[in-house]
Amino acid sequence: MLKHLFTLIWNRKRANALLIVEIFLAFVVLFVVGSLLVYRWQNYRAPLGFAYEQVWVVDLDPGMQPKAERYATQQQVIQRIKSLPGVRAVTRTSSNTPFSNSHNSSDINRPGEHIRRPASNVYDLDDAAGDVLSIPVEEGRWFDRRDDGALVAVISHDMKELLFPNETALGKLVEANGNRRIVGVTAPYRADGDFADPKQAIFLRNGLQDTTFDHLQTLLLRVQPGAGGALEKQISADIRAIGAGWSSNITPLSEAREKQMKTVLTPLVALVITCVFLIVNVALGLFGVLWQTINQRRSEIGLRRAIGASAGGISGQILGEILVVATFGLALGLLAAAQFPLLGVLGVRVGVYLTAMALAAGLVYLLTVVCALYPSRLAAGIQPAVALREE
């Protein structure tokens, strides 16, 4: 029977060409959109490499205060905030805090090496950052007082893979504002948010000896669970009281995260809506063509009933035919889709393409079956005696 369906569809290839093209297009659209969605989804499922709950970002603005006084004032502010009962830990950091969309990237190499590599994110932090952000350390440790007087760095898993693929990174040197010794390797760190790829990251220690205010004017606080508006107001007031003309802007990381997710999700949602419209159009087209085909084939269906097809056999045949047509369209679509990973069009992992192909193919089959269900029942309901007397 399958061979018969192939013969029938091959002989009617001109009539089926339109359907094949429609299915091909539907598949390609689903595949492309699917690839983006799968990519985002897989990233979303991966750990961030830090904890954002109960972490607040405090952006400090020193106003017109002379530069030389700023560091001292900031230290006073930190001491004051640390002493508040709702605050567990405070760290001084560069402004590229998680979800901030602010970046400080640079080519990081091993000393003396001159290889062009993808740029890395550079984070300036101090000893408390590991606790504030609960950054999991895979090897070695986060920096601490033991590193006083030395130049050290912690690198992320991805940077370790890039610079030290087959060896341990601990104790090795990297070139980042001088040669720094690596004391720890963290899990993949994704400060760019839930939907972003992990990018190699390096954390540079700023010890007590680092008395600049510039580049380190942001504070990250870990607060007690349940801490809220009251603490926020208290901190703002304290900052104003300590530094003449100082002001601050306090944002929980969870809020920053939501805002950032929205900026990624909004275009995605728009894309999905467009895609749904397109697919609905294709579905209506399929449905219409199938319906029309059934009406044109009444006499053939009557004949098939006469020579031994049951009603169920007829609807099975109609479904079978559209599935064969869909398979032709999918075969073409897969050929097109295979070019994406080969040419690296969307720049996502090969596994993402494969998953998207499987998803798109499954959806296309589902779509064709759903569109063919009613026409096939219509075909099954054709009375052979009536259909055969027409003409």
């Binding site: 018969h4 002989n11 004949l303 009933r305 006469a306 020579i307 009603a311």
Partner: protein, 229 residues
């Protein structure tokens, strides 16, 4: 299997009424008919008198409003759609005035069609049977043609080959020569007569041609849905 005395087809007290919204048409009224094994019966009557309706009841394509149809002595009204389809496939071959060939299938594929609905046949078996049937109607040289490339007479011979491919006991032919000129009509008639004579195939044929009817063993006349002799 069945006793040879049982008639191939038996219609008892058949009534067929077509009910549409506005009108009720009595297409057949009190028909009692027995078709014996190996008989060649012709049916005649004016247009609209119920000949095609009668044939579609015999072919199990439709159900009577009242009365019973029995095949090999077994009434079929309790059969499921699937069982009826199987019975049609196995026992009955149809030939229509307008051939009803599938235009997008080559001659050989058209002839193989009934065998596709018969389980347990290999592709090779089907091909051989279809070729043998085409040989019987003298169209061995046209297996790869498409219906549109054939004359009316040739098309009807393909349709007969299709009916023959399944080796049915009964052939139901509804005005098989109605669209053909007299020479081609003659050919078809000879073919049917040969089948009946040599293979003992039971044939029920609707015709408008008295000459053809005279060549058959029995003539049933219908008028306005009733049997008139």
């Amino acid at each position: 299997m069945q006793t040879s005395a049982a008639p191939v087809l038996q219609l008892t007290d058949i009534e067929k009424i077509y009910q549409t919204k506005t009108i009720e048409t009595v297409a057949l009224h009190r028909i009692n008919l027995t078709i014996g094994r190996g008989e060649f019966v012709s049916i005649m009557g004016p247009s609209g008198c119920g000949k095609s309706t009668l044939l579609s009841l015999m072919g199990l394509l439709d159900e009577p409003t009242h009365g019973t149809v029995a095949v090999d002595g077994r009434p079929v009204q309790s059969y499921s759609d699937k069982e009826l389809a199987g019975l049609r496939n196995l026992k009955i071959g149809f030939v229509f005035q307008s051939y009803h060939l599938i235009n997008d299938l080559a001659v050989l594929d058209n002839v193989e069609l009934p065998l596709l609905y018969r389980p347990g046949l290999s592709g090779k078996d089907r091909r051989q049977r279809a070729l043998a049937a085409l040989d019987k109607v003298g169209l061995s040289a046209r297996t790869n043609h498409f219906p549109s490339q054939l004359s009316g007479g040739q098309r009807q011979r393909v349709a007969i080959a299709r009916a023959l491919a399944g080796a049915p006991e009964i052939i139901l032919a509804d005005e098989p020569t109605g669209n053909l000129d007299s020479v081609m009509g003659e050919e078809i008639m000879d073919l049917l007569l040969g089948l009946n004579r040599e293979h003992g195939t039971t044939i029920v044929m609707v015709t408008h041609d008295e000459q053809q009817a005279l060549k058959t063993q029995r003539l049933i006349r219908l008028f306005d849905g009733s049997q008139v002799g």
